[in-house]
């Protein structure tokens, strides 16, 4: 008896130990909205989203809306993140509350991932989503880069109204089969089949469990009478079970191949992104000094700006980590903000610049200041504890005719800690 208990316990313990034991039985649910947790060097120096539009703020179940925009793969991509050799473009909310109807990158279907993202270039995307679960959802565009992780774009609330049970996604296969609802197609068949097999399994378990079990069988083995424990009838039942299982498999497989003679394997390849011409920087921005005033929550920069155009330009916007600091003195820049852009990403004080009118061919040092509590709220100030402590973003210029020019800005940044004052001003 002692031996039996010991062995039972040890067998169980041994097995669980071998497996490392414990752990969570449920799959780890990756929730969205890690946007503020993402490292600032990722948010300020990898993917810059701009010209974003959302066709609607509110849709009914089964209605669609489209998110359009561009993103720049930033030239000063941090060394700590893998280069965008392989990337996937998408939009997501918390779970599949919205479904994807269509998505394109530079005009190509974005069902699969793309190879060959190039730094310094712009990519145009378009994603159409359909309402499925009613609620108010924060939906982000996202570029996932192999080795660097998820890089999210601006989050925008979308209201889905109606009833989830009305949702429907039907389609027709190339062999002419009409699928009424993609959410449930053939699920009942799968469950019936599993129940059918489960009934056999349960019957086999009960066949043994109904007899005197643990202690009597163990003692019988100890006394050398294991011959009693598996009877001739058990052999017959076991053989029949093997036969039935093989029969189910052969017949079932045959029927399945007859019913679906044309099947295709899962898609495996990736698409090369068609390269578009490198955007030419008509206005060059060379950062000479940047500092972040910790108590003042203010980013102050001085840059040598060269206008190579034959017309004057002014600074209209500085954008980084989806935050848009707008120069409110420039109507073209203010007009460039579409009404639907998330307010929390438009800092109230906007952008302060001094004497930013650049004559054709002129090179001049310009002061740029972006002050707002949003630096703290968005947890962006930890760039001060990075190993490379750099800042990056896009600067938008406008000429008198309202034409826009986009330039990259990047360089080292230093903190200004309380009591030491600033060594920079207008």
């Amino acid at each position: 008896m002692k031996k039996l208990i010991k062995r039972l316990l040890v067998a169980c313990l041994g097995l669980s130990a071998v497996l490392g034991g414990g752990g969570d039985l449920l799959p780890a649910m990756v929730e969205a909205h890690g946007e503020r947790a993402t490292e600032p060097y990722i948010r300020t120096r990898t993917v810059h989203w701009y010209d974003m539009t959302w066709s609607k703020d509110s849709i009914a179940v089964n209605d669609t809306y489209t998110i359009k925009g561009k993103f720049r793969l930033f030239s000063d991509w941090p060394d700590a993140a893998a280069r965008p050799e392989l990337l996937y473009v998408s939009a997501y909310g918390p779970g599949a509350v919205l479904t994807r109807v269509e998505s394109r990158l530079n005009g190509l279907p974005a069902q699969q991932s793309f190879r060959g993202g190039e730094l310094g270039r712009d990519y145009e995307f378009e994603i159409t989503m359909k309402g499925r679960v009613p609620g108010r959802w924060h939906v982000h565009t996202i570029v996932q880069v192999e080795g660097a992780g998820a890089i999210v774009g601006p989050g925008k609330w979308i209201e889905v109204t109606g009833s989830a049970s009305d949702y429907k996604q039907s389609l027709e296969t190339m062999t002419g089969n009409k699928i009424d609802d993609l959410q449930t197609y053939k699920v009942a068949d799968a469950q019936r089949y599993h129940l059918f097999l489960g009934a056999f399994a349960l019957a086999w378990l009960l066949w043994w469990l109904r007899r005197p079990l643990i202690i009597p069988r163990w003692l019988a083995i100890q006394k050398g009478r294991s011959d009693l424990l598996v009877r001739p009838i058990d052999d017959k039942v076991a053989a029949a079970m093997v036969g039935v299982m093989l029969l189910i498999t052969v017949v079932g497989y045959h029927n399945a191949t007859q019913a679906y003679p044309y099947t295709v394997p899962l898609r495996g390849g990736w698409t090369k992104i068609p390269t578009q011409p490198l955007p030419e920087e008509k206005v060059r921005v060379d950062l000479t000094h940047a500092e972040y005033d910790v108590p003042g929550r203010s980013l102050r920069m001085r840059a040598n700006i060269t206008n190579t155009l034959d017309k004057p330009v002014r600074i209209g916007e500085f954008m980084t980590a989806e935050l848009r600091f707008i120069n409110k003195a420039l109507p073209a820049a203010v007009a460039n903000v579409t009404p639907g852009y998330p307010q929390e990403l438009l800092p109230g004080q906007g952008l302060k610049v001094d004497n930013d009118l650049l004559a054709p061919g002129e090179t001049r040092s310009v002061y740029i200041e972006a002050t707002d509590a949003v630096w703290e709220v968005e947890r962006l100030v930890s760039f001060l504890s990075d190993v490379d402590s750099r800042i990056g973003g896009l600067v938008f210029f406008w000429d008198e005719k309202g034409e826009r020019y986009v330039s990259e800005l990047h360089g080292p940044i230093v903190p200004v800690i309380k009591g030491h004052g600033t060594h920079m001003s207008m």
Binding site: L25, L86, G95, Q111, T173, L182, H194, Y253
Partner: protein, 267 residues
Amino acid sequence: MTENDREVLRVAGLSGDTARWSRTFDYLIIVVAAFLVLAVTYINFLLLAGDWDFFTDFKDRQYWVVIYPIVQIMMAAAFQAVFWTLFRLPFGATASAFLFGLGVWLVRYHSWMGMAHFPLTLVVPGTFMVGAMILDGILTVSRAWLVTGLFGGTLFGITFYASNWIVFAPYFQPVENMGQLSSLADVIGYVFPRAGTPEYIRIIERGTLRTFSDSSTWVSVFFSCFICIFMYMLWWLIGAFACKAASVPTGDRFKLLFGMKPAEATK
């Protein structure tokens, strides 16, 4: 109670109250063992096969077909070894497959559909119940683990793919999506977005297998059979070894509880 049952009880020296007590003990053990078998099978699968069986559009004809049976035959073999060595009960594999199926469907409903809003079409699980019952059947008839490993292991690998194709064939119908040829499974994965799971994370037919073209599934199946045989043997031995170890002390009180004299019980 059959004649055979009475004979077993007689040989074991249990009658009347002790027999009834032992039956109560059986029920207790069944509950505890069921939970343990489920948890161990599930955790083992999560650790070693990860997300290959989570999503319909992860079930490719190369890795899924190879990895699923190789991982599941481990616990099937180990539990067979434990239950057979200690009690001559040939149901370790079936118990593992049946309980795993129960657990998997529970999680599909609770977490995948309930918490992440995934439709069931995206998360239909595979099953190894057919292979498990074949393993148990062969062990019963042959009473030999080497024979079970050789024939059972082979059939386990073959029947996994064939018996699951019954469920999954419709999900591989050709569909046109944005002008591209896709399988229905791909489209389901596309329509219902997964946060944090970029497309490139799927490992679909990498390497030179594609050169086998249409027969590549069967190449995978036979490779899987081959590995299953050795996996079975390895894990049978691990299970059997676990039965031999003896280091947990059990006192005389415990034995007395079952109406046995300590001296007799260890005889």
